[in-house]
């Protein structure tokens, strides 16, 4: 029920906002939020911080470009109904492979392994011309037509992204209440104990990474349609760090935190240059992000929840007049 407080304005926003705010701020935030959600999911429920989520998004983005219309003359065009599940499946397989490689690693070691995978994938896309078209990547990656318009137009793409975001949040919430999701959380808390119950730990880890690949892949496809391109730049250090920042400032307590983090990050990214001297604007972004992490160690969303809680308490104490 309380979701309606967010959902109804989200549905009405396209009627009051300019295309710029709709596309460049909200849609971009939703897409980055979906990819960051895949990281928050792993961090919260498996207890593993993965730096390879931008790569998983990239796998699906590249797949949708390779199997669809593009302007670089590479790839095998497939019908939409085939290429969409195929792209998501490839992202899940990539996720499962990363999970398999990182299955015995926790903490800093998992970070190092996934970072290595992310960076290796980045360099691979730069060097490989047959599948990834090297440095330049794919352009002209258009979403399917919507009647005589396109899914890529600001309003349709916004609603599409919103819908995918809601589905992804619901999927995460459903998954963590499933037997497999419970096993994933059990691996996080006490892997040895899970083994003593006769439940293997490798399978839940791989499944969690595959599931995160599905979410990151959904975001990656939307991102390719939003940018109308995908290239080595989409999976480089920049996106890897962006996703991490968004997850951290949004907070890991609840899946929707990733979206709070994303919108703050996007607004900062777009407008910081207006607020301060243009050779120093990244400093401002850095300071604000640092301040958020210090002031809200559990993320902005948790901070807001704490504030609302405190206000309610105070209201309850104040006698009604």
């Amino acid at each position: 029920m309380r979701y309606l407080i967010v959902l109804i304005p989200a549905l009405l926003l396209p009627f009051v906002l300019t295309d710029f705010w709709l596309a460049q701020v909200l849609t971009r935030s939703l897409i980055l939020g979906i990819i960051a959600l895949s990281l928050s999911f792993l961090a919260t429920y498996l207890g593993v911080v993965s730096f390879a989520q931008a790569s998983l998004a990239g796998v699906a983005g590249y797949a949708i470009a390779y199997f669809g219309p593009n302007t670089v003359g590479i790839g095998v065009p497939l019908p939409f109904i085939v290429k969409l599940p195929l792209a998501l499946l490839l992202a899940m397989i990539a996720g499962a492979l990363i999970g398999f490689v990182a299955r015995r690693s926790r903490g800093i070691y998992a970070i190092m392994i996934t970072l290595a995978i992310g960076v290796a994938f980045f360099y691979f896309t730069r060097q490989n011309y047959v599948l990834f078209n090297g440095f330049t990547g794919f352009s002209g990656v258009l979403p399917p037509a919507l009647g005589d318009r396109s899914w890529g137009d600001p309003r349709p793409l916004y609603y599409l992204s919103l819908g995918v975001a809601i589905i992804c949040v619901a999927m995460v919430q459903g998954f963590v209440r499933s037997p497999l999701g419970l096993a994933v959380q059990a691996v996080r808390d006490a892997p040895g104990r899970l083994l003593a119950l006769g439940i293997p730990t490798t399978f839940p880890i791989i499944a969690a990474f595959a599931f995160s690949g599905l979410i990151a892949g959904s975001g990656g496809i939307l991102n390719a349609w939003f940018q109308e391109r995908v290239s080595s730049f989409s999976v480089g250090f920049g996106p890897i760090i962006d996703i991490l920042i968004i997850s951290v400032i949004g907070g890991l307590r609840h899946p929707t935190g990733a979206f709070v983090g994303a919108i703050v990050y996007v607004i900062l990214d777009i407008f910081a240059i207006d607020l301060i001297d243009r050779d120093r604007f990244n400093l401002l972004i850095g300071i604000v992000l640092l301040a958020i992490v210090v002031a809200a160690p559990n993320g902005l969303q948790q901070l807001a929840i704490d504030w609302v809680g405190a206000l309610r308490k105070r209201a309850a104490k104040t006698p009604a007049n």
Partner: protein
């Protein structure tokens, strides 16, 4: 004034679009102001500012406001920057971007905004204007191939090189530079038996160093900044001293001033560039002096980026003046003026466009020399006038050769 700007920006943060003043003309600028290119991107901004200042800061009685947005060398960031300028700030004229992939991305984007005119900054990818050009994307400058004009001929005819190996970074700009070099060098009868493509930011060149054939007369090195330093150091330390030919961004000040052991190898090395720091012509001297006066903290001389962003900004100002600052027709009249615009470049030649809206430029062959104080510098040894995008070839033939890649062109 600054406070007002902050207040206005804060308003933009909290709610809607910045209210546009009807009397101002807004020009958006996209440059790279973060990461490794930040210093160069900043120099590009100086170039546009000089162009505005040349016109007294206004056209047809209207103030010109520059809105600067940063990209990060990625096509996605350039597109986001352009969309922000167009949709949020309402600009109809954009000068930028800086790098090749960004240029291609903005060329694609420009089709979605026919009322907006994008004037390239310094990006040098060939296909931005050569193949599938866009009606409202202009480049008052050359591409990476044009920037090598004269070098291939000089290497073959004057220096007598017959066989040259190539070491270059593995992306579109070096491909284009290699094309510019090879189209002349191969036509003059030279051969390129082998090319080595290395990733950007590579640190270990040992496998390349020992694979370069021993019988080549020279190596054409199209690597940027620290990559060039790494390669040259490792090549020299391996005991080789084959002469070097440089690309447009290979032999820059960082390479020249590093007191590495490869300096002897560099003496007399030729390279191609549209911008020479110490070039003795009245126009360039005046341009350099204006730059030094306006930016005492700037670089020692205007860089290729200040030079090219200046030309973009200058073209915009000239055309705006011509149409009285009126872009209300979606910029149609403005672009009609740009199409036929001619002006004197800072290097002295006449800038004009071909039918694809790409500049016909003057290019320099430069060489490394030792100054009296022992430091290394570059000096112009030849100016090639009127270099067009097809390097003097017939357009059909040129296009038929196909887009540049690792394997194209080839003359083993």
């Amino acid at each position: 004034m600054k406070n007002l700007k902050i207040a206005v920006s804060a308003l933009a943060l909290s709610a809607a679009a910045v209210p546009a003043s009807a009397d101002d003309i807004k020009i958006g600028v996209i440059s790279i102001l973060e990461g490794a290119f930040a210093a160069l991107g900043q120099d590009g901004i100086r170039g546009v500012e000089m162009a505005i200042a040349d016109a007294g800061g206004s056209v047809a009685g209207k103030d010109v406001e520059l809105i600067v947005v940063s990209s990060d060398a990625s096509p996605d960031s350039a597109v986001a920057a352009a969309r922000r300028l167009i949709e949020q700030d309402g600009v109809q004229v954009i000068v930028g971007p800086l790098s090749g992939s960004e240029g291609l991305a903005l060329r694609d984007l420009s089709r979605s905004y026919p009322e907006v005119t994008i004037i390239n900054g310094s990006s040098g990818a060939q296909d931005t204007t050569l193949r599938d050009p866009s009606e409202n994307f202009y480049r008052f400058g050359g591409d990476g191939a044009q920037w090598m004009a004269g070098v291939g001929t000089y290497a073959h005819d004057t220096l007598g090189y017959e066989k040259v190996a190539i070491v270059a970074e593995d992306y579109s700009f070096p491909y284009t530079q290699v094309l510019g070099f090879m189209s002349e060098f191969c036509a003059a009868g030279g051969t390129v038996p082998e090319k080595f493509w290395t990733p950007i930011g590579n640190a270990d060149y040992s496998s390349v160093v020992y694979s370069i054939p021993q019988d080549v007369d020279a190596i054409f090195v199209a690597l940027g900044g620290s990559d060039a330093v790494s390669f040259l150091t490792q090549y020299q330390q391996a005991g080789f001293n084959t002469p070097i030919i440089g690309g447009s961004i290979t032999i820059d000040q960082t390479v020249l001033s590093s007191d590495a052991s490869f300096r002897d190898m560099l003496l007399g090395a030729p390279a191609g560039t549209p911008t020479v720091s110490d070039f003795d012509s009245p126009e360039w001297t005046a341009f350099s002096a204006a730059y030094a006066e306006a930016y005492p903290d700037g670089l020692g001389a205007p860089s290729i980026f200040a030079h090219h962003y200046y030309m973009g900004g200058h073209a915009a100002m000239l055309a705006l003046e011509e149409v009285g600052g009126d872009l209300s027709d979606g910029g149609a009249a403005f672009r009609a003026v740009l199409d036929d615009l001619e002006f004197v470049q800072p290097t002295g030649g006449i800038m004009r466009l071909d039918e694809n809206r790409n500049g016909i430029v003057d290019n320099f062959v430069i060489e490394v020399f030792e100054r009296e104080d022992g430091s290394l510098g570059t000096r112009a040894i030849e100016v090639v006038k009127d270099v067009n995008q097809t390097l003097g070839q017939d357009l059909e033939t040129f296009l038929a050769a196909g887009p540049v890649s690792r394997d194209n062109p080839s003359c083993p």
